[in-house]
């Protein structure tokens, strides 16, 4: 960010640092909050990645003794929780914050102050979670960090199986963090509903706006059950209630229902913004309008709706009736249809276009390949009997890292390269970018591609070590080796960001020759986004301006 856009303040001069810090801490500007979301998410990504690296080190050979079992358990819990709630979600809100007002031609979100609260609650709740690494120990001498897995199954979280405060931190974190997410999601939905500029009918909104709105709608519906469940669990732990107390008649399975009723929509909450980013980048770098816009919108809404009716596929092995498993296997597989539509439409967009394989587009291409693999392994898991074998094995770990990294994270990388010039006025270096891309791509595929095999060979997840004669070593050591490449890749990205923010090539208003409204203002945009609220006539307002003889409006 250029330092000149710090809020001018009338009070007497103070140290520039204080001014700078104050500017960021008191801001209600959606762009700054967006940048803050994304930067903190990157920070937490490095933390979560380091936790993962430690796990991979411990698992790289059988019977290693690099850490205590309990430590390993806190590592995967914190890793999963961090990556989902402190990386994935903030990335969503970061991009939503930064882009939605610009894309729909408004000055800010509907409730700017609420927006700030949302961010700070997210940030402090993350601090609370990590405070567990000192707080719990220091004050009570009991287990500090949560060690119950990112879905904290009852009754392992009950006070008699997990004394100490570990699970409490986790529960409070999802409860408080959830409030922040709700605030921001509400804000986004209201913004999209009420603050579109003139001419921006719902079917002219950029796809990013559509998909992020669907994701935020899902947050509104899926988050409260988790909050409710965590309240109940807190009551169980501290006030002696019996919701999940299996000795008092409570049900362990009920927790699973509540968690996954949130948990499954959550994964689509995470991936829809990924889809959103890809849907913006692919057309621009193919130089073609998105193929089948109405179908894309319909597919997104459809995914959102169906996503709420499939949660039991995480519970196929719980011993529910065959009828129930059949229903949920079918509903899960149905999601392949709208998702397939998306994949095909993206390919349709590229087909016949003129592909500029710059960094953002490269990331999207990788996204397409990897998400395809990931989705197909998802289908295998959705076949309930097959899942009896695959569930809770490293095959599942491979599946969800393929969706979360191969899909979501690559889309986020693409988004970073694509909008960095808008946010800073400078391009992210292409050369270092290629290093980042190839290192991470190869590292990722090595780590997680090979992880499917130990899964099929019976290696369960969440084990801190394994027997020597199972034949799993070779696959694990390959997986661990891949992490080195990934880490190198991430370093390239971080260096690139820091370097380019200061010394990158000047971007200009519209470096990619793109078509949506955010490129119709300066880079970085002024606080007020647009001097005059824009007026649009089609889905690609800038296309219309650039090609007045071939405007879109007439054809939509």
């Amino acid at each position: 960010m250029a330092s000149s856009d710090i809020t001018p303040d009338a009070s007497p001069p103070r140290s520039p640092f204080m001014d700078w810090a104050r500017g960021w801490m008191t801001t209600v500007d959606h762009k700054r909050l967006g940048v803050m979301y994304i930067s903190s998410a990157l920070l937490f990504f490095v933390v979560g990645g380091l936790e993962a690296s430690a796990m991979r080190a411990q698992l790289s050979w059988s019977q290693l003794d690099l850490m205590e079992p309990g430590t390993f358990n806190t590592l995967f819990t914190m890793h999963g929780t961090t990556m989902v709630f402190l990386v994935g979600m903030p990335m969503l809100f970061g991009f939503a914050n930064y882009l939605i007002p610009l894309m729909i031609g408004s000055r800010d979100l509907a409730f700017p102050r609420l927006n700030a609260v949302g961010f700070w609650i997210f940030f402090f709740s993350g601090c609370l979670l990590y405070y567990s690494s000192v707080g719990g120990e220091a004050l009570y001498g009991l287990a500090g960090m949560p060690d119950v897995g990112w879905f904290a199954y009852a009754p392992l979280t009950a006070i008699n199986y997990s004394p100490g405060n570990g699970p409490d931190y986790w529960l409070l974190f999802v409860l408080v963090g959830g409030i922040g997410s709700l605030a921001t999601a509400l804000n986004v939905v209201v913004t999209v509903a009420t603050m579109r500029c003139e001419g921006m009918t719902p079917l002219r909104m950029p796809l990013l706006v559509w998909m992020i709105s669907v994701a935020c709608g899902l947050v509104l519906i899926a988050m409260p059950p988790l909050s409710a469940a965590s309240i109940m669990m807190l009551f169980d732990r501290h006030f002696g209630s019996h919701f999940f107390d299996t000795q008092g008649g409570g049900s362990a399975v009920f927790w699973q229902h509540l968690f996954w009723f949130f948990g499954h929509p959550e994964v689509y909450i995470l991936v829809l913004p990924g889809f959103a980013i890809v849907s913006e980048i692919i057309p621009v770098f193919s130089r073609k309008a998105i193929f089948g816009y109405p179908m894309m919108v319909a597919a997104s809404v459809c995914i959102g709706v169906v996503a709420m009716g499939v949660w039991v596929h995480h519970m196929f092995t719980v011993g529910l009736t065959a009828g129930m498993n059949s229903f949920f296997a079918a509903s899960t597989m149905i999601i392949a249809v709208p998702t397939g539509i998306k994949i095909f439409n993206w390919i349709g967009t590229m087909y016949g276009g003129r592909l500029h394989l710059k960094m953002p587009m490269l990331c999207c291409v990788a996204f397409l390949f990897q998400f395809l693999c990931a989705g197909l392994t998802g289908i295998m898991l959705a076949i309930a009997p097959f899942d009896f074998q695959l569930s809770d094995s490293y095959f599942v770990v491979a599946h969800f890292h393929f969706v979360l990294i191969g899909g979501l994270l690559f889309a986020i990388f693409g988004g970073l390269y694509y909008w960095f010039p808008k946010a800073t006025g400078r391009m992210l270096g292409e050369k270092l970018g290629r290093w980042h891309f190839w290192l991470f791509l190869i590292g990722f595929n090595v780590t997680f591609g090979f992880m499917h095999i130990p899964g099929a060979m019976g290696m369960p997840r969440r084990i801190y070590t394994y027997q020597a004669d199972r034949g799993w070593e070779i696959w694990n050591v390959i997986s661990s080796a891949g992490v080195v490449l990934q880490a190198a890749g991430v370093c390239c990205l971080l260096v690139n960001i820091i370097r380019s923010a200061r010394k990158g090539a000047v971007a200009g208003d519209d470096p990619w020759d793109a078509w949506t409204l955010e490129w119709a203002t300066t880079s970085p945009p002024p606080e007020y986004n647009f001097e005059k609220p824009p007026k649009v006539h089609s889905r690609r307002p800038l296309w219309d301006l650039k090609h007045p003889d071939d405007t879109d409006g007439a054809y939509e």
């Binding site: 939905v189 009420t194 603050m195 509104l220 409260p224 019996h242 919701f243 409570g250 509540l258 005059k532």
Partner: protein, 199 residues
């Protein structure tokens, strides 16, 4: 160009109320999901308590029915209050508004009395059994919402007494009143769940 700030100001009012409406609608949506979770929990665990006290032993209708009548009728008085304000009849507004608040307050007091009975006579607490856990959490969540509503109404009453509430606030207060209607509607669901189905 220079008309920009101005046009914003004039466009501001209806836009603000649209935001308010959508915001409240979204809030009600998530709150419904929250309540629904507790209701489902209650239903899931009905009849699963391992030991007493059971609903049939402890649930008494007189107080709760009176409370319910008060709460439901407050939905009507709040409509009257908002209408009065929209027509500019501030005094009438104050009367109905205070009445609404008092009805809400009665609900709080009434429930407190009911709970006192449950705790002291029947020894039903959050930790007695599943019925206690689900009962107090569901009804308590609703109660928390009523409390919040009453507090907000108190605030607005104070402002009204200082003459700070005027006709142009009718729109905002109407949006606030949605929340109150929602709380009332939820009570009907809670009542049906706990006092009709659950017994």
């Amino acid at each position: 160009m220079s008309s920009l700030a101005q046009s914003d100001a004039t466009a501001g009012a209806p836009a603000a109320s649209r935001k308010g409406r959508w915001g409240m609608a979204c809030l009600i949506l998530t709150e419904s999901a929250l309540f629904l979770t507790f209701v489902v929990t209650y239903l899931y665990y009905t009849g699963k308590s391992l030991s007493g006290p059971y609903p049939v032993d402890v649930i008494e209708y007189p107080t709760v029915l009176f409370n319910s009548v008060c709460l439901i009728s407050s939905s009507f008085t709040i409509v009257l209050a908002v209408r009065a304000l929209a027509r500019g009849r501030v005094a009438l507004f104050k009367v109905f508004w205070v009445l609404t608040m008092l009805l809400g307050l009665e609900f709080l007091v009434g429930t407190a009395i009911e709970w006192k009975g449950l705790i002291e006579q029947h020894e039903l607490t959050l930790s007695s059994n599943l019925f206690g856990s689900t009962f107090y959490s569901l009804v308590g969540l609703h109660l928390a919402h009523v409390t919040l509503g009453v507090l907000v109404m108190l605030l607005i009453t104070t402002l009204a007494l200082f003459g700070r509430i005027r006709r142009e606030h009718a729109e905002r207060l109407e949006i606030c009143s949605w929340y109150w209607h929602f709380v009332d509607a939820v009570w009907i669901v809670v009542f049906l769940t706990v006092y009709v189905y659950g017994v």
